[in-house]
């Protein structure tokens, strides 16, 4: 079992590493972790678990657990849940019918459609290009690799309005390279690609670094071409990371405002995205419309993250472990 322990030490496996420590508030186990505790191999002697000193520091634990849960609940409520609840209440100010009317207004539907369409394109492009960038950064050695690696995070750190101006000066009217994208959907795509660049790269990179190169050699020894090996061996390993990066990029894209505000042009039914529509409705004093579309955006983001969790949870259950 030497290898198993080695692997546990190497792999990021929160459940196990914490488990044997004496004060063990059960509630701290992050959800989404397999009931086996992640690291404990299913074939391990069940006596192992029984032998753990579970009951040390009982008094401390008894006090600590409700305190911890209390802080987390309070924080989440104040920062996340209460504002969301307030928003939802505002959206349903005139009942379900009022909400429905606001959401299905042609301009609102158009804005939501543009948002989802553009974000989906951006997410898909990111899935492919982000994976490629991560691959090159991990597997290839070239001059300036560290510089490139640092540049990846720049769009993330840059205020989005600055990104917008940067893009406008390049792709705007009188573009120095002759490509004018302002007030087009392609302009939106480029702006969103700019700000969502790091998501897939940064989620795939660590997985690729940790990936066992011998597995690819094994596939090659069995006759698999480089492409077959990538498709059947490497890609399934990267899939959860690609998916989660893509999902985050999508979620970021549907809510993006700053980077698209200048280059998008805010043309209703053409390049007006949901965030701009919301802004517009507030300005013309239609808070209900703004709240309703916000709730729609919220629902889309929520469903995206939910799907992401379900899918990555499933592959994690199958794969997360020790070899």
């Amino acid at each position: 079992m030497t290898s198993d322990t080695d692997q546990q030490r190497r792999g990021p496996r929160p459940g196990t590493d914490v488990a044997p420590l004496p004060p063990r508030p059960d509630a701290t186990a992050p959800d989404g972790i397999h009931p086996h505790g992640g690291g404990a191999p299913p074939y391990a002697d069940p006596g192992d678990a029984a032998a753990r000193p579970k009951h040390h520091g009982r008094g401390l634990r008894a006090l600590r657990r409700p305190l911890g849960i209390g802080v987390v609940t309070l924080w989440l409520s104040v920062i996340v849940l209460l504002p969301l609840a307030a928003l939802t209440v505002a959206a349903f100010d005139e009942g379900l019918a009022g909400f429905w009317e606001a959401v299905t207004a042609p301009a609102a539907v158009a804005a939501l459609w543009v948002t989802v369409l553009v974000s989906a394109i951006v997410a898909l492009v990111n899935a492919v290009v982000g994976t490629l960038v991560a691959w090159v950064l991990v597997r290839d050695e070239f001059r300036g690799k560290r510089f490139v690696n640092a540049v990846i995070d720049l769009p993330f750190a840059l205020p989005t309005i600055v990104a917008s101006i940067v893009l406008l000066s390049l792709y705007g009217p009188n573009s120095p390279i002759g490509v004018e994208l302002n007030a087009t959907r392609w302009g939106l795509v480029v702006a969103l690609l700019f700000v969502t660049l790091p998501f897939v790269v940064r989620s795939v990179q660590p997985v690729l670094i940790e990936a066992d190169h011998e597995v690819e050699e094994a596939a090659a020894s069995l006759g698999a071409s480089t492409w077959t090996t990538f498709r059947r061996i490497v890609l399934p390993t990267l899939a959860p990371a690609i998916l989660s990066g893509t999902g985050l990029a999508f979620a970021r894209a549907i809510g993006e405002y700053g980077s698209v505000v200048l280059i998008g042009g805010n043309i209703p039914r053409e390049t007006q995205v949901a965030s701009q529509y919301i802004q517009q409705q507030i300005e013309i004093d239609r808070p209900l419309n703004a709240a309703a579309v916000s709730v729609a955006l919220l629902a889309i983001a929520f469903v995206t993250l939910l799907l992401l969790r379900v899918v990555s949870g499933r592959s994690q259950r199958r794969e997360e472990r020790d070899a």
């Binding site: 030497t2 011998e214 094994a218 596939a219 020894s221 069995l222 698999a224 794969e319 472990r321 070899a323």
Partner: protein
Amino acid sequence: MITVTSARKNYGSFAALDDVSLDIPSGSLTALLGPSGSGKSTLLRSIAGLEELDSGTVTIEGRDVTDEPPQRRGIGFVFQHYAAFKHMTVRDNVAFGLTIRKRPKAETRKKVDELLEIVGLDGFQHRYPAQLSGGQRQRMALARALAVDPQVLLLDEPFGALDAKVRTDLRQWLRRLHDEVHVTTVLVTHDQEEALDVADRIAVLNKGRIEQVGDPVTLYERPANDFVMGFLGSVAHLGGQLVRPHDIALERDRATALALDAKVVDSPGVIDAVVERVVPLGFEVRVELRAESGERFAAQITRRDAAELQLREGEKIHARATGRSSVIDVDPALAI
């Protein structure tokens, strides 16, 4: 037959393979034995095509594969850390080589089931690698490598990651498997006991060179040099010579010792020593001694002999070498 000719491989200034030539007969189970950094893994990976030689050639069954990628060498490779495809079931793992060759599904399934039965994993078809123990994973890896009917089976420290008990079981199992399947097998190991136990030929490597090739008995009894002797079993320094600890006899009476020693050709002579420690090892007893010269050495004698001698710590005793077969002069440059 695998033939490696004048293989050289450098990593920077480090010579992993320094002009290595080796023939591995068809159907044999050959062990490449050596300490870490001796080039044994590099040699194996070069045969597999996972490592490119700087110069030299590799032929497998008469075919020059030096410039062929691993995909076209007709090999099966087993890694120390299993290299299991974690997202696939045991069945899909073993079937991988056949699936990508687009063999008919029924044929693949039949072959996989047969192999899983041979490696003792019948009934585990639908498990994932994570649900197997280390030993089971390695047997799955073996079945996976055998599925493509390789001309040669290459094993890189296949039992290195397993605990001692599983390791001994699995190597005996591998020996039986080889007797059934007869595929030319090359096994890399740093464990001399494993090499002696499982292989019918052993090539001892050191510092990128082959020191000696032969069957286990020859290597043990007639080592070509003191590196081979030292690596294939324990040795004791006795009067400037290397002797196997069990080829040392202890006598209470100096005259008897001298008389018996006179019959041994090239003997290191009778060494007067003090018993420092007596360690019972089950069937045998290890006696740790200090010669008058201050040099420490150990003798391994049977329990019966130990009982007759009634050894006590601190007592004086006379040591002599009993045979010359495993006695070789120490090369002062290599003195351990």
